[in-house]
Symmetry: C2
Subunit: 216 residues, 2 copies
């Protein structure tokens, strides 16, 4: 006898679906730092039992996207300034390398696409849309790095983004500026010119500029 019938519309790989949606929300800054989550709450929200919710949470915790207290309570991380500095340094190291590897493969179509994405970034900045800014900004970087053909490095970079997601939202949310992204233009210009040192500098500067907001 089937004691626990599965709903007919249930997607296979429930835990993966939960994982991906939670991951996206965290990376894009949907959740503030320190936001508490519960397995039963997640299960209810995504219409699954505690089991796949737990697996998704455990996976995200392994990537640093969530933290678990000693008693197992789940929340988004609240990063110390030291940790933010470390993560920014990691971004600089990894993303400069990714950009450098993408440079010889960056042809016209890619640069055009970056240009288009950058317009969306500018719009998000103009509308003071923090979540939109984070999303389009990451899309800009990911589009460039995909050309590097270095999946392990890209995964590392995305893991860092994931850890910074809630904090980025908090930082950009309190930011009040409307300038278009200057360093993105430098990146695009360096790509066009095939200027590797210039590209490395532009990426490093763009990636670490967020630190300056902390000092203010």
């Amino acid at each position: 006898m089937n004691l626990h019938p599965r709903p007919l519309d249930a997607n296979p790989l429930a835990h993966d679906r939960v994982y991906r949606q939670l991951r996206s929300r965290i990376m894009h800054g949907d959740l503030p730092p320190g936001h508490a989550l519960t397995l039963r709450g997640i299960g209810k929200e995504y219409e699954v039992s505690m089991t796949p919710a737990r697996e998704a949470v455990r996976r995200l915790a392994a990537e640093g996207a969530l933290t678990m207290s000693t008693s197992g309570r789940i929340s988004t991380p609240e990063l110390s300034n030291e940790r933010i500095e470390e993560l920014a340094a990691l971004r600089a190291l990894i993303e400069v390398e990714l950009a450098s590897r993408a440079l010889p493969r960056a042809h016209f179509a890619l640069i055009e696409r970056l240009q288009t994405i950058n317009n969306a970034v500018s719009e998000a900045v103009a509308h003071r849309d923090a979540v939109g800014y984070i999303r389009t900004n990451l899309e800009f970087h990911r589009t460039l790095y995909l050309r590097a053909q270095a999946p392990a490095m890209l995964a590392m970079a995305e893991t860092v983004w994931l850890q910074m997601g809630p904090t980025m939202r908090a930082l950009y949310g309190r930011l009040r500026r409307t300038e278009p992204p200057h360093f993105h233009r430098l990146i695009i210009a360096a790509l066009r010119a095939g200027d590797e040192p210039g590209l490395r500098l532009a990426v490093r500067t763009d990636v670490t500029q967020g630190l300056r907001m902390l000092a203010t």
Copy 2:
């Protein structure tokens, strides 16, 4: 009524215990690349049910220490040459930075300790003990990097080690050399001299030398 009594000697945090032991075995090269694992097998080996075994596996898979096929089968990763090159490049990037940050804090006691660990590395090499070599070699690097006071970076470096564990064992296992670790001596010398460029070069060379074994 208690249908499922827990054994009296059961440790709390079963999944964490399973995770740590599996992680150690993988990182130290106890398992060859492509080695298959099963949840029930792991549960039996560590005397737990499938649930904590699954959580440990899911966590290790998130860190790249295990791979899961589309049908969910679990095995240690078999790395392509391209991925090995990427991981070596990541090691170079991250560990050079860690060493650089550790340099100003590296005092006499630390250098003495590195010296001692390095003797153990030499012994493992002399005895052609692949697992012992991997373990002591990682201990050498970790001891140095702990001084950098950069936990996020160290975690990233360890994640890379974890991914390379099974492959390292296969590489070093087929290696037949008895020379003591030359680049470790260079690292120690650079630390003594406070020579930052020399330290960076020594670490980068030590970390990427394994690639040369692939070309043979």
